[in-house]
């Protein structure tokens, strides 16, 4: 976490925002259980650290536009865990009902969209990536062996825009995408990125 100290802004990818908000009480009043994303405790610890140091979290409009699909992926992934099925009292092999998944999806979305009103979060609506930087990033990732992306997919345009955003603004980028963070040092040494940190590698 010390690696983030001293920077006024820290760029987050959308998944980190979603994980920060992924804590849902069921039912909302007098909850009987709470469903959290697997990375939620880490996302909260990092974000609370930043907030306590008066640092701000930021992201690009393009990344924020991916919010709904990021929420769906996080919810769909988590609600398929046996751990969650068990919390809900479902027998082995019984899937979580779609209405409960929807309940969690809507709750996370409400929470994330409220971030826009928080003083510590800044949505950068102005950033427009430099085309030549994007082309160089594209060539860089196209030139990597598939196995180096691990279980992650090759970065999409919006991911590369975030890398370019960090570079242009000189903000460290926090991501849970190994498809980006695995290449942090090479990208930086090639002048294609600023500092990139994987969310899970940040020690509270």
């Amino acid at each position: 976490m010390q690696r983030l100290r001293g920077f006024p802004y820290i760029a987050y990818d959308t998944n980190c925002l979603v994980y920060y908000c992924f804590e849902v009480d069921i039912p909302e009043t007098n909850p009987k259980l709470t469903v959290r994303g697997r990375l939620t405790p880490q996302a909260r610890a990092v974000t609370e650290f930043l907030k306590s140091n008066q640092q701000k979290v930021t992201t690009t409009q393009a990344a924020y536009d991916e919010l709904k699909e990021c929420i769906f992926n996080a919810v769909d992934d988590r609600m398929g865990d046996r751990e969650v099925e068990s919390m809900l009292g479902l027998p082995q092999g019984k899937k979580v009902p779609d209405q409960l998944k929807l309940r969690v999806q809507q709750a996370v979305e409400r929470h994330v969209t409220k971030l826009e009103r928080k003083g510590w979060f800044v949505l950068d609506r102005e950033f427009c990536p430099d085309l030549s930087t994007l082309q160089r990033l594209q060539r860089f990732f196209d030139g990597q062996d598939a196995h180096r992306f691990g279980r992650s997919k090759k970065p999409k345009t919006v991911d590369m825009e975030l890398v370019a955003f960090g570079l242009a603004r000189q903000f460290p980028l926090v991501t849970n995408d190994r498809g980006i963070s695995n290449f942090a040092s090479e990208l930086a040494s090639s002048g294609l990125s600023y500092k990139i940190h994987n969310l899970m590698d940040l020690v509270p």
């Binding site: 069921i26 039912p27 909302e28 009043t29 009987k32 259980l33 709904k68 699909e69 929420i71 769906f72 919810v75 769909d76 809900l88 009292g89 009902p97 779609d98 209405q99 409960l100 998944k101 929807l102 309940r103 999806q105 809507q106 709750a107």
Partner: protein, 277 residues
């Protein structure tokens, strides 16, 4: 109503309003066919019952051994209605039907239907084949194994309506649940799943509440069915559309169900409240 079935203008518009049902005959008899191979020079209309459970049917299925006869029928001037809805054979659970009704436009067919109408509720093959032979003695060849004959009765008791709607909504949910996952896909699947549960709980409610809530769910279901139909061929593009309007209507539906004390809003839902399959 005998013979002259579905010629009333109100019946052509059966799908549009429930009020049309008031003008519909109490009992009509129609023929239906799924004979895709037959090319009919006819106009097609969609007959979508404005309320599920509108029809009960009694079916004479000619697919058995006794349907091997080749009968001679060439319809002309036939008006078609595609029937999409639910049917229920007596004693059986509700099932989905999508078949084609043909409605007589020519004198010969009108005679045929009038004759059909003379057959009481139980059809038998001899009576049916006799009518067809007498009505269309010189027509071309048509394999009647392609035909099903239905007696269609309008008007179920209100207690049947939530269950009939539940089957319909469940079916759409099961379909949408198989679509590529996305935020919008879960909105559709989750809200339809909610409707199924609400309809299950609704059976215990007084008749007036049943009518009020099931009407609200039916309106919501129609919206979802329209979206599902629109994107049925391009399922992955569903993720790119803005469904805020549907979301708002689902919020209102939850209010309706909660205020009627039928089923809680999603945010107030205890997993234990979800009825078992």
């Amino acid at each position: 109503m005998t013979g002259n079935l579905a010629f009333a203008e109100s019946w052509y518009r059966l799908s549009e309003t429930e009020a049309d049902l008031a003008t519909a005959p109490h009992v009509i008899r129609v023929c239906s066919t799924s004979a895709n191979a037959i090319q009919w020079p006819a106009t097609r209309h969609i007959l979508s019952p404005s309320f599920p459970g509108l029809f009960t049917t009694r079916q004479l299925n000619l697919f058995g051994d006794e349907s091997s006869d080749i009968m001679a029928v060439v319809p002309s001037g036939t008006l078609f209605l595609e029937q999409k809805g639910l049917y229920k054979n007596e004693g059986d659970p509700w099932s989905r039907i999508q078949s084609t009704l043909f409605i007589v436009g020519s004198v010969a067919h009108q005679t045929f239907l009038e004759s059909m109408a003379l057959i009481p509720t139980s059809y038998d093959w001899d009576a049916l084949s006799g009518i067809i032979s007498n009505t269309f003695p010189t027509a071309g060849r048509l394999d009647l194994r392609c035909f099903n004959f239905w007696a269609v009765t309008k008007g179920l008791g209100s207690s049947d309506q939530p269950e009939a709607l539940r089957v319909q909504v469940q079916e759409l949910h099961d379909e949408v649940a198989m679509w590529p996952g996305s935020y919008n896909q879960l909105l559709l699947a989750g809200s339809l799943d909610y409707c199924v549960s609400a309809l299950t709980k609704l059976k215990r409610s007084p008749a007036a509440v049943q009518m009020h809530v099931s009407s609200a769910i039916k309106r919501y279901y129609d919206l979802c069915a329209g979206i599902a139909e629109q994107y049925g061929e391009t399922k992955s593009s569903l993720r790119r559309i803005n469904l805020q309007s549907l979301q708002d209507k689902f919020d209102l539906l939850q209010e309706t169900c909660a205020e009627a004390q039928v089923y809680p809003r999603l945010k107030d839902l205890d997993p234990m409240d979800i009825p078992l399959d």
